[in-house]
C-alpha cells in the first residue's frame, strides 16, 4: 500500500546538513498496524507527517497506492490526502466552537458529502462509540478520553484507507489510553491500515509491526 524509497529530510545549518530522516525505505501492506517508536527528536513525527502528506521529503520516492506522491503538486496531494487519510492528534485538536456532532461531520463537509448521507455516517459512529448522548456537547465539556474518542471518530468518518495517529494516548490516563488502543485494535481487526507513533512500550504491542527510529535511521523493524 505504501512504498518509501530513500526518503530523506534535512535542514541546512551553515555548511553542514542536519538530518531529520536519512535513507528511510520500507513497504507497508494493506491491513498492517505499524507502530513507530523512538526517542524525542528522532524524526518519527516527521516521518508520520510525510506519510500523511502534510510534509514533503527533500529527496526520495513515496508511492501511495502505487501513485507517485513525491511528484504531485500540493493541490493534488491535498486532494489525495483528503480522501484517503485520517489523522488522530495527541492534543485531540477538536474545534472548540463546534459540537461533538459538528466536529465529526467536518471532514465530510470538505469532501462535499450530501446532507442525508452525512447524517447517517455521523450517526453510525456516534452509535458505535456510544456517544450519542454527547453529540450536542462542546469539546470543553468532555473528558480527555472522550475528546480523543471524538478525534478518532472524526478521523475515520470519511472511511479513509489509512489512519495516522500521532501519540494518540500521550495526554491520557492509562485506563483511557487502553480504551483508545482497544478501539484502534478493533478498527485494525476490521481491516483498517494504521500507523501510530508512541513512546509507550505496552501500547506498541497492540500493533502487528514495530519500527524503532533513532537519529533519522530505522534501527529495527520487527513484524510479529
Amino acid at each position: 500500500m505504501i512504498t518509501l524509497k530513500n526518503i530523506e529530510r534535512f535542514y541546512n545549518t551553515g555548511l553542514n546538513k542536519s538530518w531529520v530522516l536519512k535513507n528511510i525505505s520500507f513497504n507497508l501492506k494493506k491491513g498492517e498496524f505499524l507502530t513507530i517508536m523512538g526517542p524525542s527528536g528522532s524524526g518519527k513525527s516527521t516521518l508520520l507527517n510525510i506519510i500523511g502528506m502534510l510534509d514533503k521529503p527533500d529527496t526520495g520516492e513515496y508511492y501511495f497506492l502505487d501513485e507517485p506522491v513525491h511528484t504531485f503538486s500540493e493541490k493534488r496531494r491535498t486532494e489525495l490526502h483528503k480522501h484517503t487519510i485520517g489523522f488522530v492528534f495527541q492534543a485531540y485538536h477538536l474545534i472548540d466552537e463546534l459540537t461533538v456532532y459538528e466536529n465529526i461531520e467536518m471532514p465530510l463537509l470538505y469532501r462535499g458529502v450530501g446532507k442525508s448521507e452525512r447524517q447517517s455516517m455521523v450517526a453510525d459512529l456516534l452509535d458505535r462509540f456510544n456517544i450519542v448522548g454527547k453529540k450536542g456537547l462542546f469539546p470543553a465539556q468532555l473528558s480527555g478520553g472522550q475528546q480523543q474518542l471524538v478525534g478518532i471518530a472524526r478521523a475515520i468518518v470519511g472511511k479513509p484507507k489509512l489512519l495516522l495517529a500521532d501519540e494518540p494516548t500521550g495526554n491520557l490516563h492509562t485506563s483511557q489510553g487502553e480504551m483508545i488502543m482497544g478501539l484502534l485494535k478493533e478498527l485494525h481487526g476490521e481491516g483498517m491500515t494504521i500507523i501510530q507513533v508512541t513512546h509507550n512500550e505496552k501500547f506498541a504491542a497492540y500493533g502487528t509491526r514495530v519500527m524503532q527510529i533513532e537519529d533519522g535511521f530505522v534501527r529495527m523493524d520487527t513484524t510479529t
Partner: protein
C-alpha cells in the same frame, strides 16, 4: 466551488456566531469600533447624498440652466462672478435662439430681510419671497397640492405659497382665493393665493415660502420693462433648453448676442461682461458666486467629507484586523486542524470573510437605529435636515449594503488571507505560524502607522479649523460688535418712527449712543458708485460701496475718525446735487488722495448724462463692513435722515438685558403699536455669517471624535488580548520560553515606533489643511 459555498452558509455563520459569543470582550471592542465608525460613515454618506440631491428632481434637470455673469468694472481689479444677470437677457435669448425653450426670471426685493405678511388683522414676518415670471413653474418643478402650476401666476397680483406658510397664515391647505397683504421693501400690496406647493419632489437651491407673479407692479414691473443689458445684474434667470442642445455651443454664441444688444451700454459703463450657463443641478454644490440665493456647499467640501468617512471606516477596519491577528494563535490551531482534515484554503478564506461580514452586518444593524436616534442631534450639529428613509430610498439601501460588504471584505481580508496561509504542520506542532513571518509583521505595523497617521491628521485638521474660526470671530473688525443691540424696522411705514424711537432710547441710562442706518455691518451692501477725484474722469474711477446712516454712526459702532468731522443734522442738504460722505481710508488709497487733502474734496461719478457729486466731510478707518472674510474694500457712508433708514443700533452698557428690553419694548409699543417688537445682538448676527464655517468645524470635530471613540475600549483591553495571545503561545509551544512580560514588551516598543512614524506622516496633511483654510480667508499668519 458550490460545495464550499454550501459549507460557508451552513457552518460558517453558526461558527461565527459562536466565536463572537465565546469571545465577548473581543466581540464587544470590535463591534463598538465598527458600529461607531459605521454610524459616522453612514451619516456622512447621507449628508453628502442629501447635498448632491438638490435640483435633481426636475423632469428635465439636464436641460435646465441658470444664466450667470462675469463682470469687470473699470479700475476694479477683481472680476466679479455673479449668480445673476441683467433683466432683459433671458427673454432676449429666448427670442434670439431657437434652442431656448423656456426662459423665466426670479428676483427677491433687495436689502429686505423680512417681508411683512398681513392676513386680516394678523401680521406675520417671513423671509422675502420671489417675484417670478408666470412660466416659472414650467422650468423649476414643485409639487402643487392646490392650483395649477401652468397658470397659477397668470393673473396680476397672484401668489403661490408653501404648505407650511398656508398652515401658518390660514391653518388650512386650501387657501385658494384668499388674500394676503405683502409688504417690506415697498408699499404693501394685496395678493390673491392661486396655488399651494410643497417640496416633496426634492430640495432645490431656490428655497422660498412664496412666489409672486412678476406682473405685480413695483420691482416686478421694473424688471419687466427694464432695458439695461449691462447693468442691473440682480435677476436670477433660468432657461430650459431643447432636448439635445449642446450648452457649450450656445454659450459660445453669447458674446455676440451681448454685443448685439448691449454694446453701447457696456461702452458707457466701461464694463466687460460675459455670460455663462450654469447647470441647475450643480448650483447647490458651487459656492462662491456673488449674490447667490443660498449658502451653497462646495463639491470639494463634500468630497473631503467622503474622504473623512473613508478614513473613519478604514480606521475601524484596521482595528478589526489588528484585533483579529492579536488572537491569531488560537485561530491558527483551528486553521491547522481544518487543513489536516482536508479543508482547502479557499473555504478557510470564506470562513474568515463570512465572520467579518457577519460582524459588519451586525454593526450596521446597530448603526442604522443609532444614526436614526442621533439624527436630530446630528442635524443640529451640521445644520442639515436629513431624514432616514431607507424604505423610500433604494439608493440608501444599496449604499448600506455596499458599505457592509466593502467594510466586511476590507476588514476581513487581512485575517482571512493571512491566517488561511498557515501551514498545518507548523501550527499543530506548536511552532507558531506567526513567527518568522516578517511580511505579516510589517503589514501589521504599517496598518497601525497608517491608522495613527489618519487619526492624527483628522485631529490636526479639526484643531486648525477650530482655531482659524476662533481667530476669525475674535479678530479686530475695525468696529466694536459687543454690547450692540439691533432693532429692525421691517416695513416702509414704520421708518417714519425711526427717529422718534432712536431719540427715545438714547434717553435711557443704559444707552451710550444709538444710530439709524440702512444696512448693519455684516449685511449685504448692494449699492456702489464709481468715483473719481477732481481733475480726472470716469476712466480712473474706483467702485466704492456705500450705505446710508445718521450722525451717530461712528460713535455708536466706535469706528475711528482719522480726518475731517462727523456728520451733523445739517448734512442733509443736497443743494448743488452733492451728498455728504465719510469715506474709508481704502478709498483714499485707491484714488491716491493724501489724508489731509480729503476733507472737503468733491468726488464725482458720471452716469449717462448725469453727474453725481459726493462731498467728503471726513475719513474713517477701514472696517469690515460686509463679508468678514474679505479684504478692506473701499467704502463710504452717506448721510441720510433717520426716517428713511431701516435699522437702529444701540450701544448698550448694561448686563441687565431683561430690564433693558422691557423698557425698549415699551418705547417701541408707544411709537409703533401695530408692529411686533423685535431685536437681535450684532455680534450674534455676525457669528451667523460664519454658520457654514462653524458647521464645518463642528462636523469635522464631531466625526473626528466619532472616529476616536473606539480607541477607548481598545486602550483598556489590548493588554488583556496580548496577555491571552502570549498565554496561548505558551500553551501550544513545547518550549515555554516566553513569559507574559516579555511577550508584551515588544508591543510597547512597537507602539512608540508607530506613534512617531504616524506623527511624521500626518504633518504634511495638517499643513495642507492649514493652507486651505488660510487661502479661504486670505489670511497670513
Amino acid at each position: 466551488m458550490t460545495q464550499y459555498l454550501n459549507i460557508m452558509f451552513q457552518n460558517n455563520v453558526k461558527i461565527a456566531f459562536r466565536n463572537l459569543w465565546r469571545n465577548k470582550t473581543f466581540s464587544f471592542i470590535n463591534l463598538f469600533g465598527l458600529t461607531t465608525g459605521t454610524a459616522c460613515c453612514l451619516y456622512i454618506l447621507l449628508y453628502v447624498q442629501d447635498h448632491r440631491s438638490y435640483d435633481q428632481h426636475h423632469s428635465e434637470a439636464g436641460n435646465l440652466y441658470r444664466i450667470i455673469s462675469d463682470l469687470q468694472l473699470p479700475n476694479d481689479q477683481a472680476e466679479m462672478h455673479m449668480a445673476t444677470c441683467s433683466p432683459p437677457i433671458p427673454m432676449g435669448m429666448k427670442s434670439d435662439f431657437p434652442e431656448v425653450e423656456q426662459a423665466a426670471r426670479a428676483c427677491r426685493p433687495m436689502g429686505v430681510e423680512q417681508s411683512l405678511l398681513r392676513v386680516g388683522e394678523q401680521v406675520f414676518f417671513e423671509k422675502p419671497g420671489y417675484y417670478v415670471d408666470s412660466n416659472f413653474f414650467q422650468i423649476l418643478e414643485y409639487q402643487f397640492v392646490a392650483g395649477d402650476p401652468a397658470h397659477a401666476l397668470d393673473e396680476p397680483f397672484s401668489v403661490v405659497i408653501s404648505e407650511d406658510l398656508s398652515q401658518k397664515l390660514f391653518k388650512t391647505n386650501d387657501p385658494i382665493g384668499q388674500t394676503i397683504g405683502i409688504g417690506g421693501g415697498g408699499d404693501e400690496q394685496k395678493f390673491k393665493v392661486t396655488g399651494v406647493f410643497n417640496s416633496s419632489l426634492g430640495k432645490s437651491h431656490l428655497h422660498s415660502e412664496f412666489f409672486m407673479t412678476m406682473n405685480s407692479g413695483g420691482i416686478g414691473e421694473f424688471i419687466r420693462t427694464n432695458d439695461s443689458w449691462a447693468g442691473n445684474n440682480f435677476v436670477y434667470s433660468y432657461l430650459r433648453l431643447k432636448q439635445g442642445t449642446n450648452p457649450a455651443a450656445l454659450e459660445a454664441k453669447l458674446p455676440d448676442f451681448l454685443q448685439r444688444h448691449g454694446a453701447v451700454q457696456l461702452e458707457q459703463l466701461g464694463m466687460k461682461k460675459s455670460l455663462h450657463l450654469q447647470p441647475i443641478a450643480s448650483i447647490h454644490t458651487t459656492p462662491g458666486l456673488t449674490a447667490d440665493q443660498a449658502t451653497n456647499t462646495s463639491s470639494r467640501f463634500l468630497n473631503m467629507l467622503l474622504l473623512i468617512a473613508g478614513f473613519i471606516q478604514m480606521v475601524a477596519c484596521i482595528n478589526f484586523m489588528n484585533l483579529t491577528t492579536a488572537r491569531s494563535t488560537k485561530r491558527a490551531q483551528e486553521v491547522g486542524v481544518r487543513k489536516a482534515v482536508g479543508a482547502p484554503r479557499i473555504s478557510l478564506i470564506g470562513q474568515f470573510l463570512s465572520e467579518s461580514l457577519l460582524l459588519t452586518a451586525i454593526s450596521m444593524l446597530m448603526a442604522i437605529p443609532l444614526v436614526g436616534l442621533l439624527m436630530p442631534f446630528l442635524n443640529n450639529l451640521t445644520g442639515a435636515s436629513i431624514e432616514i428613509a431607507f424604505t423610500k430610498n433604494l439608493q440608501g439601501i444599496g449604499l448600506v449594503g455596499a458599505l457592509v460588504v466593502l467594510t466586511g471584505l476590507v476588514a476581513g481580508s487581512y485575517p482571512a488571507f493571512y491566517l488561511s496561509s498557515f501551514r498545518p504542520l507548523a501550527v499543530l506542532r506548536g511552532t507558531s505560524g506567526l513567527k518568522g513571518n516578517a511580511g505579516a509583521t510589517w503589514l501589521r505595523k504599517g496598518l497601525v502607522v497608517s491608522q495613527f497617521a489618519i487619526s492624527s491628521a483628522l485631529v490636526i485638521g479639526a484643531l486648525i479649523v477650530h482655531f482659524q474660526l476662533d481667530y476669525m470671530l475674535e479678530k479686530d473688525l475695525g468696529f466694536e460688535k459687543k454690547q450692540k443691540v439691533v432693532f429692525p424696522f421691517r416695513t416702509t411705514e414704520s421708518h417714519a418712527a425711526v427717529a422718534t424711537f432712536r431719540n427715545e432710547i438714547m434717553r435711557l441710562p443704559e444707552v451710550g449712543s444709538a444710530s439709524a442706518m440702512a444696512v448693519c455691518p455684516g449685511q449685504m451692501v448692494y449699492n456702489d458708485l464709481p468715483l473719481y477725484k477732481p481733475g480726472q474722469d470716469m476712466n480712473s474711477a474706483t467702485a466704492v460701496r456705500f450705505t446710508y446712516c445718521d450722525e451717530n454712526y461712528l460713535n455708536t459702532l466706535k469706528i475711528k475718525l482719522l480726518a475731517g468731522r462727523q456728520f451733523t443734522q445739517a448734512d442733509t442738504s443736497t443743494q448743488e446735487g452733492t451728498a455728504k460722505a465719510i469715506v474709508s481710508e481704502a478709498v483714499l488709497n485707491h484714488l491716491g488722495i493724501p489724508l489731509e487733502a480729503a476733507p472737503g474734496m468733491v468726488l464725482s461719478s458720471d452716469f449717462e448724462d448725469q453727474r453725481i457729486k459726493i462731498t467728503v466731510v471726513g475719513v474713517m478707518q477701514d472696517y469690515l463692513y460686509q463679508n468678514l472674510g474679505s479684504e478692506m474694500d473701499p467704502f463710504m457712508v452717506i448721510y441720510e435722515q433717520p426716517n428713511r433708514l431701516a435699522h437702529v443700533i444701540a450701544d448698550v452698557n448694561t448686563a441687565d438685558f431683561p430690564s433693558f428690553f422691557k423698557k425698549t419694548e415699551a418705547t417701541w409699543k408707544s411709537v409703533l403699536p401695530s408692529l411686533p417688537f423685535e431685536y437681535s445682538f450684532l455680534d450674534e448676527n455676525l457669528a451667523q455669517l460664519y454658520s457654514s464655517e462653524q458647521n464645518l468645524s463642528r462636523i469635522i470635530s464631531a466625526f473626528t471624535f466619532g472616529s476616536h471613540l473606539d480607541f477607548l475600549p481598545r486602550s483598556l483591553w489590548p493588554r488583556h488580548l496580548h496577555g491571552r495571545a502570549a498565554h496561548e503561545r505558551n500553551r501550544y509551544s513545547k518550549s515555554a520560553r516566553s513569559n507574559d512580560g516579555r511577550a508584551c514588551w515588544p508591543d510597547v516598543k512597537g507602539l512608540f515606533e508607530t506613534c512617531a512614524a504616524g506623527i511624521s506622516y500626518c504633518f504634511p496633511v495638517g499643513l495642507f489643511f492649514h493652507e486651505k483654510m488660510a487661502a479661504r480667508f486670505r489670511l497670513s499668519h
